[in-house]
Symmetry: C2
Subunit: 221 residues, 2 copies
């Protein structure tokens, strides 16, 4: 059975990416990162999602060299109620090089496992803000995989799949719904509270996505 | 004063790269990784090298997702006495995606610090074996820095300098000697012993380099 490494965050996008990978016939090995994020709650959710999909998961603890993001430094404010003009600005939740770091570990894991693919749940709506969610970035990283790894130079390049890249949140939710993604287990809120705050970008996009998809968000029940 | 992040390993190449960066007028912030390597001794050496250069150093502890290298798994044999025909084979000391991971953290650190450059001591002799030491890899990673980071998309791309790329060991030693690199503090041996084993690739290339450069290796005194 062909193997894939799937980057999980505990959110609904990466959970959907996992179900897409399973659906394509991959045996999936999930990775989630404990990087000092405020919303550490997402790690437990990632574990539940992996387990519901019958997959292994590894939690990698990493220390980022510097705290320069509101996602890891509680002194920096998280933006509330995103206005259309803010959408083109990189928000304070941007963590320098985060996806680059995550994909590097995924590449290392995939090479060690002999996996042929990596799945990441990045998508169109993210890349209005985060540089490391844009198609150009994934093309550049794909080249790194081709020329910077043993498997790459031996013509067994590990492929990076970004199955949600061109979808908006509502389309992702519809796809996940069809694939049986357990949305009730997922966590999107950037804040570390007991319940989603309902006001950060991530809560905002989630709520709007469910509304537009005409699906009930079972996590709020 | 312009800032740079310098990847240190405790070996003589990265120490020389640090002195090149200092010589170019950068205020240097060093990074060294504790990734479960057998030769953890190199971490202490990296600290000494940074301190002798008057620079800060951060030790980042990371857990690699899988042990598939003789550098981290003592059950895998480290090659001894490298023969010319072995030189084109990727050795068992290859750690999947190691430089990709290290550069990703360096990029994150540089972005957080507002540094404009990263220095890495990779060089020509390494890339006979390690894919992530080849010019194509660095070109690909440079593109990642350009399109995958906030500084990149805002036209303040963090530059990756590989000052030793086209040098052999003897040339590096001559350069380091001129710049006052404290070679006696550096550590190259892949094994974890109290003294260099004298037989692994790394010891072999170091000894040959000093001999060819006509410099005495003060670390062996």
């Amino acid at each position: 059975m062909k193997k894939a490494v799937v980057l999980l965050s505990g959110g609904l996008d990466s959970a959907t990416a996992l179900y897409v990978a399973k659906n394509k016939g991959y045996r999936c090995f999930c990775l989630v990162f404990d990087y000092g994020q405020r919303h550490r709650r997402e790690i437990g959710r990632a574990k539940k999602v992996a387990s519901s999909a019958g997959c292994q998961i590894k939690v990698l603890k990493i220390a980022l060299p510097i705290r320069s993001s509101s996602l890891i430094d509680k002194k920096i404010k998280i933006r509330q109620k995103c206005s259309p003009k803010d959408l083109n600005k990189i928000p304070s939740t941007y963590v320098p090089a985060r996806n680059i770091i995550f994909l590097s570990f995924a590449l290392s894991y995939a090479e060690g496992l002999g996996a042929e693919a990596i799945f990441i749940g990045a998508h169109a709506q993210d890349y209005s803000g985060y540089p490391d969610c844009r198609p150009e970035f994934f093309r550049a990283f794909d080249r790194v995989s081709a020329v910077g790894t043993k498997s790459g130079v031996e013509n067994r390049k590990i492929k990076i799949f970004i199955p949600l890249l061109n979808k908006n949140k509502a389309q992702i939710i519809r796809l996940g719904n069809r694939l049986g993604v357990p949305f009730e287990l997922t966590w999107s809120c950037y804040r570390g509270g007991n319940r989603p705050c309902g006001r950060c970008d991530s809560c905002y996009f989630r709520a709007r996505g469910f509304r537009e998809a005409g699906v009930i968000d079972a996590s709020l029940k």
